[in-house]
């Protein structure tokens, strides 16, 4: 009897996924057909009031903000993991670890608000531009993905047999050389998985970045330019969109879906290969 109950409960989560997928595709697909796939994905102008539905600037926005976040967050995260696993005394480690988990617990909207009050004026003051920019989004997201990158990298390094490091040092390498030459390459697939998961999280973020990106619909020309991502586009226009425009937003959702599923598949493939 309980077996059937579990089965039905499991089915319900899959059906939620199926329902959402079908809903999004049914609402969004017609407009991709109407506007044309290439005009939709590669169109440069988003102006629903005039019937133009090109999302390319938003794709560029998503890609640049996410890559920026990865470029900032991944090296810091990996260095932090290495510090925690290899150099930190136990007391410091026991302080760092929960502190980083706390970072993961901060709601996205709080990140966005903090970014608006703190990061945006800094950028405006010292780097120029309106401050609302790709860079602001990248900085916020870099901080948000740190817990993911750090914890998975840490696990990958800790999973290595201690003889790897001992063996390298026994051959005459010092600690840092041993880490660089042996530990990091050995933990590579775990680190790559951490990076991909971090990127997946960054691409899906909306609330954290909607306040700091500036939301301009044009193609950005520098990291100090304001920009829109696929997610913030939906977030901003959702409130008043109707008819074709609302369908276009669903179609944006389809594109997002596809991208995130690809990323997840890639992460799974890479971690399985180990």
């Amino acid at each position: 009897m309980s077996k059937y109950v579990f089965f039905i409960l499991a089915l319900s989560s899959i059906s939620a996924l199926a329902l959402i997928t079908i809903f999004i595709i049914s609402r969004g697909a017609p407009i991709i057909g109407e506007v044309g796939f290439f005009d939709f994905v590669f169109g440069m102008t988003w102006a629903p009031g005039r019937g133009e539905y090109g999302i390319f600037p938003m794709i560029v926005g998503s890609v640049t903000v996410t890559l920026g976040a990865a470029a900032l967050g991944v090296p810091i995260g990996i260095c932090c993991s290495i510090f925690m696993t290899e150099f930190a005394p136990a007391a410091l480690r026991n302080f760092f670890r929960p502190a980083i988990q706390l970072l993961a617990g901060i709601p996205s909207v709080v990140y966005g608000f903090w970014g608006l009050i703190f990061i945006v004026p800094l950028i405006r003051e010292y780097l120029g531009g309106p401050g609302l920019s790709i860079l602001a989004g990248a900085v916020i997201l870099a901080i948000m993905i740190l817990p993911t990158v750090i914890s998975i990298t840490e696990v990958s390094i800790l999973a290595l047999p201690p003889e790897y490091k001992a063996g390298a040092m026994a051959l005459g390498l010092n600690h840092w050389q041993a880490i660089k030459t042996v530990l990091l390459p050995a933990a590579k697939s775990g680190i790559v998985a951490a990076v991909i998961l971090g990127i997946g999280r960054a691409i899906g973020e909306t609330m954290a970045v909607i306040m700091v990106l500036g939301n301009a619909v044009a193609l950005p020309q520098s990291i100090l330019d304001p920009v829109r991502t696929l997610t913030t586009n939906i977030g901003i226009e959702m409130g008043y969109a109707s008819g074709t425009q609302s369908q276009a937003l669903f179609a944006t959702g389809i594109v997002l879906f596809a991208v995130i599923m690809l990323l997840n598949a890639a992460a799974q493939f890479i971690t399985r290969k180990k």
Binding site: P89, A90, P161, E163, Y164, K165, A166, G167, A168, M169, A170, L171, G172, L173, N174, H175, V182, P185, A186
Partner: protein
Amino acid sequence: MDYKIKIEAFKFFYGREQVINGIDLNIPKNGIFSLLGPAKSGITTMLRAVNRLSDIVPGARMEGSILLDGKNINDADVNVAELRRRVGIVFDVPAPLPMSVYENVAFGPKLLKKGKAEIRALVEESLQTAALWDDVKDRLNTPAQSLSGGQQQRLCIARVLALKPEVILLDRPCSGLDPISTAKIEESLIQLKELYTIVIAPHNVQQAVRISDRAAFMLSGDLIEEGANTEIFSNPVHKRTSDYITGRFG
């Protein structure tokens, strides 16, 4: 007799915990010296102290001295990297580096910035001595991970040999290996003992009996007894030694 390694009044601590309680031990040059004893006797710690690999454990502390060719290895002017090349170590778990077979053995010589031709010669020579050359000569560029357990362990021995050490430390090198691999390794060691000082912690008494020239018995951080092969295995002085050797505990 010419002592390669002299251990004097040696104590070792991990933080507050004392694991070695004052040991005096002399290890002669060349030949196979076994360090026997049940688990948690401090044997691994002792071995690793000889090439100062124990340094990397946080909270590690020692008293007393270890002399290599008469010089204290813990003196301030000792180059640790060089010490570890002179005193190589093979662990109980085969730990090939995540590289090809060739790269693994070439790793040490490359660090010493030797020329390509010299490295190639060293690699072949080391693999021959470790009785692995025939197995891998056609697949030097395959990942080291693809070798069997016994082959990986011999690879680790070759890796150490490539640095032309003077002492080779082995910590239960054959644990987990099948009898044939074990026999091959023991064969290599018996040949190596002519030129190298070998200190081994065997994983059972029978192995010690088979290959050692001298042996020492450690129990819970103390040195109970040491002596030549012929004496200690047939006529041990202490009761605890004979109990361990005859398998009454272990």
